[in-house]
């Protein structure tokens, strides 16, 4: 694989995604959603979660220990960002990464590319560009939230910045398998819309299968990367390693399936 060509493809796709439907379909809802949430964080709404009632609600969602870790031991504004971004990541990634390959393969536009670069370069170029599009948007929100946290939360600056870096890194690791999942679906579909619909349908099928398997087998098994989410909320190192390992495995599995399918499809 030629990394120079892969880089050119990724940079070109990223540059033009921002101004085209491909990127706007993700950027517009993402911006509106986070504008609303950041506005609320600016009003210091995170402090309500540090109250007894807030902690009780968060403990119901996770467990008391995680609620205490996220909201008391760490800056709550950043923890709110972390909880919300991890919970909404599958949805936003599906919007932002649905048109990696399907549209151009379906319209046969890739015929202009395939005499100049390999399918692997196209696959990874599009994968990288989709990842960067979502990642840059997340980093921008993380930076804004960090400033809000530095202003509102009663934690030291160094501690806040270190925590911000940690949650951003973990979020960026968490979205990686979802990008790979979309690359997999996109590799055999013929349009962006059909990719989105099939990805959503397949997501729910896998979710139901996971629930079914877990009901009959006494093991913690998941077919979707969202299965590692609760490990990411546990800020304990052991859980984090488990989550990062899981994220890598999901990315490799989905990515390899997608790559294999794209190598074999007629364009």
């Amino acid at each position: 694989m030629n990394w120079r060509r892969t880089g050119i493809l990724a940079a070109y796709d990223l540059r033009y995604s921002v101004l085209r439907l491909k990127g706007l379909v993700f950027l517009i809802p993402f911006t509106f959603f986070w504008y609303w949430l950041i506005k609320s964080l600016l009003d210091n709404s995170a402090r309500h979660l540090v109250s007894t009632e807030g902690l009780a609600v968060t403990a119901m969602l996770f467990n008391p220990e995680i609620a205490q870790t996220l909201l008391i031991l760490h800056p709550p504004s950043l923890s709110v960002f972390y909880i919300v971004i991890l919970s909404t990541a599958p949805f936003f990634v599906m919007l932002g990464a649905n048109n990696q390959l399907a549209g151009d393969a379906g319209r046969q536009t890739f015929r202009y590319y395939l005499t100049r670069c390999t399918r692997s370069e196209l696959f990874f170029g599009r994968f990288i560009s989709s990842y960067l599009l979502v990642a840059v948007a997340i980093i921008i929100v993380a930076v804004i939230t960090t400033f809000i946290s530095l202003y509102h939360d009663d934690h030291g600056n160094a501690e806040t910045i270190a925590y911000a870096m940690q949650v951003t890194f973990l979020t960026l690791a968490y979205i990686l398998p979802f990008i790979a999942y979309m690359a997999m679906v996109s590799s055999f579909m013929g349009s962006a819309l059909s990719t989105l619909l099939v990805a959503v349908a397949l997501y729910f099928v896998l979710l139901i299968l996971t629930t079914y398997i877990n009901h009959y087998l006494p093991v913690n098994m998941s077919l979707l990367p969202s299965g590692i989410k609760h490990h990411l909320f546990n800020i304990h190192p052991q859980d984090l390693y488990y989550a990062l390992g899981g994220s890598t495995c999901y990315t490799l599995i989905y990515g390899m399936i997608g790559w294999w399918l794209f190598q074999r499809r007629n364009i």
């Binding site: 060509r5 050119i8 493809l9 070109y12 033009y16 101004l19 085209r20 439907l21 151009d104 319209r107 046969q108 536009t109 890739f110 015929r111 202009y112 590319y113 395939l114 005499t115 100049r116 670069c117 390999t118 074999r264 007629n266 364009i267």
Partner: protein
């Protein structure tokens, strides 16, 4: 010597349909080759296999000594696919520059190369436009321009002039004629006059099988056939006069055009015989509207695929 393009027992199937059926073919370098055959003959499939857009079901296909679609061929083949749009919302020039960069040109050189190919097709002003705003003919021009980016060794053109106005058709043919010295061309077209005009060799395929591969002059049998179009239907007495000439083997009027005559001859000096025939026609008081060496190309190809 390694053939420029070589296919052995090449099969491409789509479910139960065989688009290519054990096609074995060898093509030389530096030639302009016309690929002809009826609809569904497998022409576009063959071009797609050459570019690596699709994979063969069985058999093998090698281009410039490498398996079709392999890494070593990237940037060495230019293609004009049939009816494939450029990416919407991105100016033509930016797309051409990307293609040049993928072929190894650095920043400024890539822009220069894009300008060169647009200039070559006399459509520099189209570079600033978005593909969706171009007319059909303009789109054809810019896609032809992209096929020439980086001066590839092999250029594959699928119906290069279909849908173009006569002026544009002449322009495109002139460009191909100008470029064919430095490149190998394979042109798939239903326009047989175009193939006859531009190409040196012809490959006729039908139902995925090779029917004929030869030089166009050989197909036309230029040194053994004359086609004459007269101003009136051919009279039997004229036929008898021709048959008495020792070099003429057979004279037959066309089935559909009664004023057209095919003359099959065997002579060491066909040029001299040509003058003798014209002289004879003049003495018979018949006006010659058209006189050409070789059989009617279209009739020959139709005969081959029938």
């Amino acid at each position: 010597m390694i053939p420029f393009i070589e296919s052995n027992d090449l099969v491409k199937g789509y479910g139960s349909i065989r688009a290519l059926d054990h096609l074995t073919l060898s093509l030389g370098r530096g030639k302009s080759i016309g690929l002809v055959g009826p609809n569904g003959a497998g022409k576009t499939t063959f071009l797609s296999l050459l570019c690596g857009f699709i994979r063969p079901t069985s058999g093998n296909l090698r281009v410039m000594g490498h398996t079709a679609g392999s890494r070593a061929l990237k940037g060495r083949i230019g293609t004009l696919p049939q009816d494939v749009p450029f990416m919407q919302g991105i100016p033509v020039f930016a797309q051409l520059t990307l293609f040049a960069r993928l072929q190894g040109f650095a920043g400024k050189d890539a822009r220069r190369e894009s300008e060169r190919v647009l200039q070559l097709l006399d459509c520099r002003e189209l570079g600033r436009q978005f593909p969706e705003t171009l007319s059909f003919g303009q789109r054809k021009k810019v896609t032809l321009a992209q096929a020439l980016v980086g001066q590839p060794d092999l250029v594959l053109l699928d119906e290069p002039t279909s849908g173009l106005d006569p002026v544009a058709v002449n322009g495109v043919r002139a460009i191909i004629r100008k470029l064919r010295d430095g490149h190998s061309f394979i042109i798939s077209s239903h326009n047989l006059e175009e193939i006859k005009d531009i190409c040196e060799e012809i490959v006729v395929i039908n139902k995925g099988k090779l029917v004929r591969h030869c030089a166009i002059d050989d197909l036309l049998e230029k040194n053994s056939y004359l086609t004459v179009l007269l101003d009136r239907p051919v009279e039997p007495s004229l036929l008898q006069t021709f048959e008495q000439m020792p070099a003429i083997i057979k004279v037959s009027p066309d089935r559909d055009k009664t004023n057209q005559l095919s003359i099959y001859f065997k002579s060491d000096n066909p040029d001299e015989l040509q003058y003798e025939i014209l002289d004879l026609l003049r003495k018979s008081g018949v006006v010659v509207n058209e006189f050409s060496r070789g059989t009617a190309f279209t009739d020959k190809v139709v005969e081959l695929v029938s």
